[in-house]
Each structure stands twice: as structure tokens, then as C-alpha cells.
């Protein structure tokens, strides 16, 4: 089985968010870039499956400009065999999926994250599957390979399910797919330098959405405090003032 892990390059989750030029663009000065946390867990699970046997190759792919290469190198250091960078600004989910559709054909299992932590688009995985005419499973919390076949765990309302779905498949992963992300070891970092990182030109595709302007949320009003010995007052406030009880 060949696995493709989609990698989104996002600002570190602790980044202070700022905007430039009339709030039209994200200010990337001084930002630390990381592998999107869900993609990092997807890659970790792919590595575990490879170590258990039954996976021939793991490729990571990103749609992005040259600045994403350190992130791809990190994915190689974690253990991916090779990387593909499609050389274009990822303008929207449709555009990104259209690019990935070009390189995803050669794989049996494609792993995407449920959302990228920057624009929270929650779109690329499903769009890619539809463009390729193959099935997808979302809310995936586990992937196993048994006798060459996929066993997928997914979350549903109030519970979970085990599924059997044939390849090729896009699995859109979330909580549970792996416990802790793998940190690259020194040896991995050395080896990553020699692994192939192929740069591919983009295909024509038009974005369908446009980001117009950003805004920071209004500061929250101060918390109204109730005395510990008069806790009943809290219920009155929730009932009469907030009207949520």
C-alpha cells in the first residue's frame, strides 16, 4: 500500500495573530512554521503502519511556495520517503485540492487533516476525493491495515464505528489517529537531507473564494463574580439575566 500524507504549513499554534495593510493580509513576520497538528498525527500513524509492514512508501505533499520546504524536510525527518511541493500560493481549498489531484492518483490511501489550524477551511480532503472520483471517510480516529485491507475507525454522534472501505480512499483524520506526534531524531534529520523533495509546477485552477478582510475579536467584558457562599445567586443570574437556564 502506498500512502500520501497531505501537509499544510501553518503558523505555530501559539503565534500572536496580526494583520497588515488595512487588515487585508496575515502578517507573517517572525512566524514559526509547523506541520499542521492533524497532518503531523496523520504522518505519525502512517509511520506506525509502515513499521508494522504492509506499507511500501509514504509520500508527503504540500501546495505552497518555497518557504514551506523546511516543513516538508521536517516531515522527511520524521520518516516520509519522499516529498512533493506543488509550487503555488495556496489561495483557497478548491485551488489546493485541484493541485493535489494531479499527484494523488498514484496512491492507495491519502491522509488529510480535518482542518488546517490557520484558515480552518475543513475543505481540502473532501474536495480532493470528489475530484478524484473516490470515496472519503471523515472524522477518522483510527486507521489499521489488516491483510492488505483498510479498517477505519470513525467518530459518529455519541460514539464510534469500525468500517471497511476499499482503496483508493481519502481518510480525513482527527482526534485519536495517533496519540503523540513523532519528533524527528538526529539520524532522521541527517537522512532527510538526502531524500527527494520534488518541486512540481501548478496546474490551472481558479480560486472560488476570496479573503476580503480580517478582524480581531472584540475584547470580552469582565467576568461577573459571585460569592462562594452565595452560589445560588449564580443560578438566578443565569436564569434571569443571561436567560440560558
Amino acid at each position: 500500500m502506498k500512502i500520501l500524507v497531505l501537509i499544510s504549513n501553518v503558523p505555530d499554534t501559539t503565534t500572536k495573530i496580526r494583520f497588515t495593510g488595512d487588515n487585508k493580509a496575515f502578517d507573517a513576520t517572525g512566524v514559526q512554521w509547523i506541520i499542521n497538528p492533524w497532518d503531523e498525527l496523520a504522518l505519525t500513524r502512517a509511520m506506525e503502519l509502515k513499521e508494522a509492514g504492509g506499507v511500501e512508501k509514504i509520500t508527503v505533499a504540500n501546495v505552497g511556495a518555497k518557504i514551506t520546504e523546511p516543513t516538508l524536510r521536517k516531515a522527511l525527518a520524521v520518516g516520509a520517503d519522499d516529498a512533493i511541493r506543488i509550487d503555488a500560493e495556496p489561495v483557497d481549498a478548491y485551488f489546493v485540492a485541484a493541485q493535489l489531484a494531479q499527484v494523488a492518483k498514484d496512491y492507495d490511501l491519502i491522509l488529510a487533516g480535518i482542518e488546517a489550524s490557520d484558515y480552518n477551511g475543513a475543505g481540502v480532503g473532501g474536495m480532493l476525493a470528489e475530484m478524484m472520483g473516490i470515496n472519503s471517510v471523515s472524522a477518522v480516529s483510527g486507521v489499521d491495515i489488516e491483510n492488505g485491507e483498510l479498517k477505519i475507525h470513525r467518530d459518529i454522534d455519541g460514539g464510534s464505528q469500525v468500517l471497511s472501505v476499499p482503496v483508493p480512499l481519502v481518510a480525513i483524520v482527527q482526534k485519536g489517529i495517533a496519540i503523540d506526534p513523532r519528533i524527528p531524531a538526529m539520524r532522521g534529520i541527517m537522512m532527510a537531507r538526502k531524500k527527494p523533495l520534488n518541486v512540481v509546477p501548478p496546474v490551472d485552477a481558479e480560486a472560488r473564494t476570496e479573503f476580503l478582510s480580517y478582524e480581531l475579536p472584540a475584547p470580552k467584558a469582565a467576568c461577573k463574580l459571585v460569592d462562594e457562599d452565595n452560589a445560588k445567586e449564580l443560578i438566578r443570574l443565569l436564569h434571569e439575566e443571561a436567560k440560558v437556564l
Binding site: A97, A122, S138, I156, D157, G158, V162, A207
Partner: protein, 324 residues
């Protein structure tokens, strides 16, 4: 022309969020001068289907086909796209939850539509079609224009008041005619916790953290939760320790919820925890430590010992109930 709503039910009853999106769709339809069609897939009785009319649905398409129980993403997307085509829908609305996130992107590709997920309120304008959503996991908002003729959005729960708009909804059986070969998701096993309030759909959520000290101390929270018809949640260390089931873990790596009221007992309010709850309409914190970050995002709070506070709250809720 219509606005199409993908509704969801939980054992034959519409989820609260389905009424919320129908209300939301009704407001958009009014601005665009179009009607509202709701799509229901599953076994929902006629009078329950009719109830969508109360919130403004003009028509309900009723799909009763057991094959969809496998939630096959490809087949479901095909069914929704066919409904949208037969209704000439210009806007298709899903909830921003597991099901909506699974299907909406596929539907957008089928209908050559632009997609915005996690929309947090009525469109800023309908022509051009501009919507608002949170980005950077809630640290900012953005206005996005959808430039295609047909638009697909997923709607962030609790971003719009449920408004009554009584309409006599016409109920029509709809057969999207999906071939057996389109379905290839086979369910091997289902593990469902039933009989409890569904956490992701609950209006009130009672949540406990490490400050609760141990699983034996959850009795009071459960009693309070039961009295309030609340869903139960917990912080990550609580489920990691096995004090509570993983089903209850909320936060960046757990479930993302947006109830009307989130009550946090003995939870410090780490950024990763807040990522899963900060869209709640009201947040209440009970914590011993006045410096706990949870108070920065809370609307109401008690600086104090949860074990002293919980019995008082239980008593107050009981009194409130007898007085109403």
C-alpha cells in the same frame, strides 16, 4: 430558486441545530427572495418533518433509504447534489459538524460551488455573497466572498437564534436514485452511547477538570447535569486519567462544542482547552484560583471550592424548577 438545508436527526428527532440552520436559511432566503427547502435523510415521522415548517421551511424533501445509514460520504454527497439540482438551489447549508464537514466539500465540487466552512452569522451581504467566519482557531475573524453562482456553507452551531416563522411545509418523498455501486462504506461495528444527552448538540454543558480530584467526586456534577438536561464534558487530563470517558473530552484535541452555557468546574482554562469551548455563548467558571485563565473568557464565575459550590447550585436549580 431555493436555499437548501441539510438537516440531521438523532433517533428520528431533529437535532436542535437543524432548527437553527432552518431559521438561518430562512433569513438568508428572505434577503435573496427565495424559498427554503430542507432535506431529511433517514427515518423521521411526518409530523416531525412538518415541524421544520415552524422555522420557515417551505418544503421538506424526505429521503428514506436505509443504505444511507452507512453515512457513505460519496453517496451522501451525490444525494445532496441531486436535491440541490432538482430544487435549483443557489445556497446549500450544512452544520459545521462531523456530517457537514464530511459532505459539504464534496457537494461544492459537484455543484461547481465555492465553499466556506464554519460561518458564524448571517451573510455580510448576499450580492456579492460575503460571509464571516473564525480563523486561527478563534483568534480572528475573516470576511470571505464566494464568487461562484452556487454557494456551499457550513454553519457554526449557536451562531444564530432559532426564530419561529410558521410556514406550512410541503412534504415530498425524494429519491435521489443512487446506484448500489456508489456505496462502498461497510459498517463492521458500532459503539454508541445512548440514552444520554448528545454532547455536541447540548444547550447546556457541565464540565469537570483536574480540580475535581478524582472520578468518585463526579456525583454532584452528574446530578446538576441531569437537572439541567445538560451534556457532560471534561478536560483532557480527566479523560487521560480514565476518570471519565474519552467521549467527554473537549478542546483542541477533543470535541469542539458551542452550547448556550458551558459550566467549567475545576478547569484552569488552558489555551488548548479553550479552543474547544470558546464559541459557547456563556461561560461560567468555578475555580479556587482567582488567577486561573478560565476567568478571562468567562461571563460569570465563582472564585471558590467546587465542592462547596456544587450542592448550592443543585439546590438553587431545584428551587428554580419548582418556582417555574
Amino acid at each position: 430558486m431555493s436555499v437548501l438545508v441539510y438537516t440531521e436527526n438523532w433517533s428520528g428527532k431533529f437535532k436542535k441545530l437543524s432548527y437553527e440552520i432552518v431559521s438561518f436559511a430562512t433569513a438568508i432566503a428572505k434577503e435573496m427572495g427565495s424559498s427554503v427547502t430542507a432535506l431529511s435523510i433517514g427515518h423521521v415521522a411526518d409530523d416531525e418533518l412538518k415541524s421544520l415548517g415552524k422555522y420557515g421551511a417551505n418544503k421538506v424533501l424526505n429521503v428514506q433509504d436505509d443504505r444511507f445509514e452507512s453515512l457513505d460520504n460519496k453517496a451522501l454527497a451525490d444525494a445532496v447534489a441531486k436535491a440541490a439540482e432538482s430544487e435549483s438551489s443557489k445556497v446549500i447549508i450544512f452544520a459545521h459538524n462531523n456530517e457537514g464537514k464530511a459532505i459539504a466539500p464534496r457537494v461544492s465540487v459537484k455543484l461547481d460551488a465555492g465553499l466556506v466552512s464554519g460561518v458564524t452569522g448571517l451573510p455580510v451581504s448576499v450580492d456579492p455573497f460575503v460571509v464571516r467566519k473564525k480563523v486561527f482557531t478563534g483568534k480572528a475573524f475573516v470576511n470571505i466572498q464566494i464568487k461562484t453562482d452556487v454557494k456551499v456553507i457550513t454553519f457554526a452551531q449557536n451562531s444564530y437564534e432559532v426564530v419561529e416563522n410558521p410556514t406550512d411545509a410541503a412534504i415530498e418523498v425524494f429519491d435521489p436514485q443512487i446506484g448500489d455501486d456508489e456505496f462502498n462504506t461497510i459498517i463492521k461495528d458500532t459503539h454508541k452511547i445512548t440514552g444520554k444527552v448528545l454532547l455536541t448538540d447540548a444547550e447546556v454543558v457541565v464540565s469537570g477538570g483536574r480540580g475535581m480530584k478524582g472520578p468518585e467526586n463526579w456525583g454532584g456534577l452528574e446530578e446538576l447535569g441531569e437537572l439541567l438536561g445538560a451534556g457532560m464534558a471534561c478536560s483532557r487530563p480527566v479523560s487521560d486519567e480514565g476518570w471519565r470517558s474519552h467521549e467527554e473530552h473537549v478542546g483542541q484535541t477533543g470535541k469542539i462544542i458551542a452550547p448556550n452555557l458551558y459550566m467549567a468546574f475545576g478547569i484552569s482554562g488552558a489555551i488548548q482547552h479553550l479552543g474547544g469551548v470558546n464559541s459557547s455563548k456563556f461561560i461560567v467558571a468555578i475555580n479556587k484560583d482567582p488567577e486561573a485563565p478560565i476567568f478571562e473568557v468567562s461571563d460569570y464565575g465563582i472564585v471558590g471550592d467546587a465542592f462547596k459550590v456544587i450542592p448550592q447550585l443543585i439546590e438553587a436549580v431545584k428551587e428554580m424548577k419548582t418556582n417555574n
